[in-house]
Point group: C2
Chain length 257, copies 2
Amino acid sequence: MVGTASAGTTPGRTSSRRQRRHEATAEEIRQVARELMARDGTSSLNLRAVAREMGMTPSALYRYYASRDAILTALIIEAYDQVGETVEQAIAAAPLDASSTRILAGVHAFRRWAVEHPHEFGLIYGTPVPGYEAPRTESLSAAMRTGAAMFGELVRAVDSGLLVPPDDDTVPAELHPSLRELLLDPRAELPISAVALAVQFWMVLLGALSSEVFGHKPEPLAGGETGRLFFDYTIRQTLIAMGMARNAVEAGVSPPA
Amino acid sequence: MVGTASAGTTPGRTSSRRQRRHEATAEEIRQVARELMARDGTSSLNLRAVAREMGMTPSALYRYYASRDAILTALIIEAYDQVGETVEQAIAAAPLDASSTRILAGVHAFRRWAVEHPHEFGLIYGTPVPGYEAPRTESLSAAMRTGAAMFGELVRAVDSGLLVPPDDDTVPAELHPSLRELLLDPRAELPISAVALAVQFWMVLLGALSSEVFGHKPEPLAGGETGRLFFDYTIRQTLIAMGMARNAVEAGVSPPA
DNA sequence: GATCAATCGAGAACAACGTTCACTTTGATG
DNA sequence: CATCAAAGTGAACGTTGTTCTCGATTGATC
């Protein structure tokens, strides 16, 4: 559809001049689409408006994307990648000490991205928009990125003894198969209960962020600085509840606003 | 707009024959709209399709609703009310013993409604659809209903000593004003920390449900019975983390599937 | 450098959508 | 019966996403 490998002179060189120009225009389309979505508030992409903004004809866009949904899908994948990279970098930049600092760095980077890009957050973590638009195969790896980064930090906390999950028999036996299935990589040093904790942590995280971004949280707590503080407090409480030592949690420093 | 009191013969009688017929048609519109949304999967209401299904002209619908958004708003308010009543009844029907049974009854009723009405759940707890469609004044009381019911049970648990919240000074001082503001009704026997717990519990609940309904949760745990079990487990863990006695939580019985 | 095919873009057209407006029909009320 | 507001029709308007045809532009090839 969108330029597979061409029969160029040098077969290894996949980016001919044409292809680069093509990709540049495609990126401009995505960029303008993002801007319009942010400006008009609505999260429904207007194809003709994008063309108008670019000084093009609506039909010309079809040289770059097969449909409106295809553009949306591209935006979704890009958003997944963007937030994933943001969180990864925030974690990597934090010190590797025996505290919750790294985890806090990750979740705060996630929250910051979410409140700064509410429409893109809604695109990927909100109501699935059309029927089902996400071609799982393409977007799955991108979608997992943020979760994988956070999961990695939890594993590290468990490995280093910072977080001690409860006994496996505290989680209902019926759930064990499903939880074990989650660890595709069966290097599973991780106890089942820790996997359950990871999923629960993810749910709390998503719940906190979507409550705030979508306005389903009581107003007084949704604001900028207050929202950030309450988020921080909630995450720390959750970590303690998960079995991380209280002093390790409190020793963790949150990134500045 | 939609039939205020008419100058009928009996001024006290607000429902003349006409008005009843009017309301009946309006309800049919809502009903058909709900069915189409469920059938076509999409959560974007198609006005002309509704009219078609009813054997009417699209313009005729405007005798009943001022716009497409008005219908959506009506659906949203109705959904709020429906889930609110469902949860209220489930709680009321549960025994008043010294366990988590009532809370479990409430959250399971919530979950059941959510998975059985995914589109309506998305309508009220998903991405806000257009710019901002919800006229707060009208829908606020309906929107609060479910949360208020759950909140009431938490208060009861605190009052009866079943749930002992941590000291107030464990929650950051900067958050106290906002949290106190949440208790409009200043009969506030409730400690600030309990308010924080209530909000957090709400976030976990919403996070768990939207993860499952919107498919943002790892697949193995999203299924029907497994999903229900994991949800139950998560809620119980959360209650324990909040300070409810472990044996009281475990003594609670969940409603059957 | 001329040639040729692939690409790019324009422009008109189509169906479908939400909405408006002028009009008939209808059915209860004086 | 006469009246008059409500209910409903049908045509129209401005949008939207999408398709198709047809020139123009471009980049590689002889």
